[in-house]
Symmetry: C2
Subunit: 211 residues, 2 copies
DNA sequence: TGTATATAACTGTCCGGTCAGTTATATACA
DNA sequence: TGTATATAACTGACCGGACAGTTATATACA
């Protein structure tokens, strides 16, 4: 009797290396779909393939999980922009075009947009998160852009203008496009790559040095 | 004995007419400050000057309160935009500049930004709200802008270009500025009015008809 | 006095976080 | 190479607090 049900599939594996990233991935998905508050830690856990208590072995609280998520998902992008900017010092205009193309492409990716969207929703309640995002992501990327713009003005390929206003003019439309399509689910404008180039043509023509 | 504490300030008044609007106002404030989920109905009630159960006399649930709120706050904006656009038919460029100035000013007002911010945060969980906002505000306003742009192209004061791309270029930077200052609490760029004009100069120069 | 409007007190549920106990794997040793 | 022991990784069941929504009762006003 008592046939020891023997298939004995093991109930779980030790995978301490892989867990953190999987949990972050699951958290991003849940937070995005339900919003930070409405997302349940139990669902994050289930999605990551372990138990709720298991999640707490890696991240001490829901809030800290959120912060870790932002750091992991977004900081690398800002660093990439900085690297690009530092690299392309002697062709600022060309580098700007390149960065714009890359940025526009990233902004089209729902996973990338997810984080800033979260930040928008949470900045009121968690000022730390807003500040972290501003200093570690937004200002880094924008700063790199502005260095390039400044360089272009210095070498005379752009006419003098308020650098911050110009960087805003470069970023704004793409950011807006991202919100339009991802948040409002409105239809997107034109063919991506062509689109970016067309806009930069307009903007740069508007900023041509006087003839 | 039993001195019935007699100052007898009456505990409440019947004010059925005024309540709904006051509750909506309070809800907007609480939802904005704490986020929809974290906001407590009890606080909304207190802020509106009645008890929690009182709120439920007027709005059947927290979700419905949210929907009513968005509807109430959004309709006036849509109407104003439409009015502006219809008004300035024969000087499209001038009207565009005017609208840009007004829009930029509005976007600087935290109360105005509050609703779109909520929408961004909630669009994932409440697709209805996102769609309502898109069709009743976003597309109306953008459509009006695009009519003007189209008119300007037709009369030859702007060169041909993708109309949607141009409207995005007009709106994007100001939207971005609003998010930068209100969400990230970053410092704002330049003197408001001057700033708007400078940017439009650049953009419109970039769109000048060929000489 | 009757009824619409208000409240205080209450209930049920949900969820973040904890903890005692279980299982997988690494290591020591025969 | 096989078995005992140690420890890291993981789980299931639970707790306490918070809060949306309800109910029973009181008060203003016609």
């Amino acid at each position: 009797m008592a046939a020891r049900s023997p298939p004995k599939q093991q109930r779980w594996q030790r995978r301490a290396e892989a867990r953190p990233e999987e949990i972050l991935e699951a958290a991003l998905a849940e937070f995005t779909e339900r919003g930070f508050d409405a997302a349940r830690m139990e669902d994050v856990a289930k999605r990551a393939g372990l138990s709720k208590a298991g999640v707490y072995l890696y991240f001490p609280s829901k809030n800290l999980l959120l912060e870790a998520l932002i750091e992991a998902k977004v900081a690398p992008i800002a660093q990439q922009v900085r690297a690009l900017a530092e690299h392309g010092g002697n062709d600022p205009l060309g580098t700007l075009r390149m960065i714009a193309a890359i940025a526009a492409q990233k902004l089209r990716d729902a996973d990338v947009i997810a984080v800033p969207r979260l930040v928008v929703g949470l900045s009121g309640r968690f000022p730390d998160i807003a500040e972290y995002y501003r200093t570690h992501v937004a200002e880094v990327a924008r700063g790199a852009l502005e260095d390039l713009i400044e360089a272009a003005m210095q070498q005379g390929s752009l006419r003098r203008a308020d650098v911050k206003a110009v960087s805003r003019a470069m970023i704004g439309p793409f950011f807006f496009e991202a919100m339009w399509t991802h948040v409002l689910r409105g239809e997107s404008t034109g063919a991506p790559d062509q689109d970016v180039h067309n806009y930069l043509d307009i903007l740069l023509k508007g900023l041509e040095p006087r003839p």
